[in-house]
Amino acid sequence: MKVRSRVVLTTIAMAAILPLGGVANAAPSTPGEEIQGTGTDGSQISWQIPHDTLGERGDASPSFDTIPGASTSFDTKTGPNGEVSTTITIPDAAAPSRYEFPLNLPAGFTTDPQEDGSITVNNAAGLPVGSFKKPWATDANGGAISTSLKVEGNSLVQHVDFTEETAFPVTADPSWNWGWVSGHVYLNKMETAKMGAGGGVAAWLPNPGVMWAGRTLASLAAFAAASGQCVQFKVGFGLGGLPLLPGSPLPFGAGILGVDYYSGGYCS
């Protein structure tokens, strides 16, 4: 029985290190179109793809169509885990360096810029429901370009600091990530710490299953704390209790499908 419990918990520990999924499905990508995101509390958050008048370079407002056949383009994708990512492709140095995405938040919702460059969205109760991740931008050679994401008025604004010497096209990406509804549970630093201490105490219990589960949770939290990150779980349902409990007598079961670490956003 002891051996069986250890095998099951080793399976949990192994499943725990599976990476989380990526972005997959196509979504609105035409200037002016609205993109929908869902918050952890089910709230709907939307923002628009910028159109010509919402792009700027210095004091000028250049068109996205800078040279024939090479306009600034947007490619929005939604992932199986709820991520919504819009890749901006900037064709040349004459294109705008400032991209304004008009933001539509439900009443009472607020934005909270984080030190790492991400922007957390809080609901009317002040609880975080999702986050615009730290933006990135790269040149044609894959080199990182300085970029920032800010909230200006009712818009989300991404600045991309390219120059005439930058290798084009430049790609940049503001993306939205959310939690529980998409099957993710994000813990902040305090919750990760509680998980670590709680896991340590659970490891004191004489039941081998609880003991190993406690040890696993405590170890995950310890690594997250040591590296200044937080823990995120991907949860889901599976037939036969898969993939965590093969041979489970239950027809289906919920379980942790993966564990990963993250920083920024809710991890504060």
């Binding site: 305090m190 919750e191 710490a193 509680k194 670590g196 201490a197 709680g198 896991g199 340590g200 105490v201 490891a203 004191w204 003991m211 040890r215 405590a218 170890s219 939290a221 310890a222 704390a225 040591a226 200044g228």
Partner: protein, 89 residues
Amino acid sequence: MWIMITMAVVAVIVYTITATTARWLERPTTAPVARFGGWAVLVATLAFLVSMASHLSTDALLGLILGALLAPILVGKIWARLKSREGDK
């Protein structure tokens, strides 16, 4: 570093107290009411300590987790040693 060691020692002490209390509560002579009440107090105390632990610094937390994971092994070995010595006498 010292805070890590200190917190690890604290975790071992807390484990020893907890394990001793649990043994005492599980004695056949302990009345069911005392057993139930004792466990309730013990669990509430541990939950409070876990809640406090979330406010610790990273080093202190790491020490606490490390101590919590090592405590059952360490204390178990010490108890086994003491028991075998008692048997020798």
